[in-house]
Amino acid sequence: MTTFPSDAGTSLDAPSSPSRLEVKDLQTWFYTGRGVVKAVDGVSFTLEPGETLGLVGESGSGKSITCLSILRLVPEPAGRIIGGEIWLGDTDLLQLSRHEMEQIRGRHVSMVLQDPMTSLNPVFNVEKQVGEGSMYHLGLHGSGLKDRVQQLLRWVRIPAPEVRANDYPHQMSGGMRQRIVGAIALSSQPSVLIADEPTTSLDVTIQAQYLQLLKDLQEEHRFSMIFVTHDFGIVARVCDRVAVMYAGRIVEMAPTRELFGSPRHPYARALIHSLPDPDTEVEWLTTIPGQPPSLYDLPPGCPFAPRCSEAMDICTQEYPPTFETGIAEPGAAGPPASHTAACWLYGDGSR
């Protein structure tokens, strides 16, 4: 196993070496009094350096648990990663000790949480919270650390950082707090940033600002990003590729424009059709019939089959493998030009 070299003393502007993130067949299950919940069940994807992958799906589809699994912060003891591999460069994160994992978090893989009102510690000032990562990962202390905090606050466009550094979270607005969270996440220049619905709890004008800030920072510091959201508008704006999750699995993965243009999986199609079109006036928005399945009691076969208008016999018997469906609109930029769907409609037909 290769570990990452210690970065103490290296140039601060050198990001952690850009690495490819590869998740293979990840399974994270929760053992509860009511039974086993397969919150994430066989998720695989890769994230190329500098790329932004959108992770969309309804609540409970496993987006957040996938992200927490990458950081190995699944709430224990109920939740456990029971299978799979998570490769960052040539290190399998699932093989690291707890201590080694602490050196990965924040340094190489970092995360922006959803709610800025609760994700900052109320009893520490901004300087302590923003500087902590650089202290542990970059070995900064004293005035070096102070300067670093100022620099980070400037990155996220906090006005008057010398003053704001001494403030406490309750003295700041939601938008400003979320920028502080951004500064914390980026403080050691990770190569992968996970953004778990970072704008959901911000109001709309601040949302747009924050998205722009993230994009600018990504441009400047070249990290790759996993962007969790259920807002397709945001997906269209920030993501290179999108993975659609349903009941703990990725059901479709494609470059963003490709997904919007020709969704393959019936669930993804239904989702995209349910988006209101501003140009046509409709009385009712399209909805998907039925309820998302209870994860305690998943039906055999494809979990979407009971709600699917195109379900076939095999759909209720066997979970479909992931099929390559081919790019419908070639020319769309983006690294691996592939469009996959886990749906029997794209099987070879002989089954």
């Binding site: 912060l73 201590h99 924040g106 900052l120 406490y168």
Partner: protein
């Protein structure tokens, strides 16, 4: 922060005035002390003379003013039974009580806080179950019963420890354990639940995301937040120790304030009771004041209010 301290100080002063009013009027409610002091056989002259001596025939607000003036100069009257200034008697008893408090309190804190934290961190493991059992026992076993059982086992049956008195370190063991037993349970329970709440929070998640080592997450990030309810509870407990003392000092014949209070009540000693109650109240107010200041130190949201 200075404004905050000042505000708390003014509040403490108001509480003290309220305390003095309650002590004064409660004492008057028990009747004219001359009824007790003079017995059944007295002349009108004796009655008037004593009334003049203690201003008992003045209007009630004048009496209160005199009471306040005397209290301010530390004069709470003379013990009827022992014929000694009540304040001096109290002062002699304070060291014994304070020593016992500090011993019991430090023991409780040293044991209970790490146990509470461990219980929360190792939630739903055997460590947690053991902790919960201790907490349940501690909260359901009354001090008067525990004290007697401890004397019976350790002093009478096994002759390991003295039953009563205050002649050396060994004498502290049983009274401290009796006093601390309930406290350990309470502090542990509060620490555990406060830690569980905090450990579940988003800012703890973010601290872990940053790569902060787990022991720093627990002992710095989490404990600093969980400390607020714990400190509140410690303040309350410290005040409650005073009532605990009446029981524990009686069981172990510990020559402290609690025992003095009991003696005063038994002999209808007006001055003693009034002094002890006043002392207890003052102590309670002082502790609360200190707890409030400590909050300000712990939580910036309070500091900048």
């Amino acid at each position: 922060m200075r404004r905050y301290i000042l505000a708390r100080f003014v509040q403490a002063l108001v509480s003290m005035v309220a305390l003095s009013l309650i002590v004064f009027f409660l004492a008057r409610l028990t009747g004219d002390p001359r009824d007790v002091l003079l017995g059944d056989d007295y002349s009108q002259e004796q009655w008037d003379k004593m009334g003049e001596l203690w201003s008992l025939d003045e209007p009630i607000y004048v009496q209160y003013a005199i009471f306040l003036r005397n209290a301010a100069t530390g004069n709470f009257g003379e013990s009827i039974f022992w014929k000694e200034p009540a304040v001096e008697m109290l002062a002699r008893r304070i060291p014994a009580t304070v020593q016992l408090t500090l011993t019991a309190m430090s023991l409780s804190v040293i044991i209970a806080i790490p146990m509470g934290i461990l219980s929360a961190v190792k939630r739903d493991t055997w460590i947690d179950y053991a902790g919960k059992t201790i907490a349940m026992l501690g909260q359901s076993v009354p001090a008067f019963w525990l004290g007697i059982i401890l004397i019976w086992v350790f002093a009478v049956s096994w002759s390991l420890l003295p039953t009563s008195g205050r002649d050396g370190p060994l004498h502290y063991v049983l009274p401290s354990v009796t006093l601390g037993w309930f406290t350990v349970a309470g502090i542990m329970r509060i620490t555990r639940s406060a830690m569980l709440d905090v450990l579940d929070s988003e800012y703890i998640k973010l601290a872990r995301v940053k790569g902060v080592p787990e022991n720093v997450v627990i002992w710095n990030h989490a404990l600093r937040n969980a400390a607020i309810p714990v400190v509140t509870f410690l303040g309350l407990i410290l005040g409650n120790f005073l009532t605990g003392f009446v029981v524990v000092e009686t069981i172990f014949s510990w020559p402290g304030v609690g025992l003095l209070a009991i003696r005063g009540i038994q002999s209808n000693d007006f001055a003693i009771i009034q002094t002890v109650v006043m002392f207890g109240g003052l102590l309670f107010i002082t502790i609360n004041f200190l707890v409030d200041i400590f909050y300000g130190y712990l939580d910036p949201r309070i500091r900048y209010e």
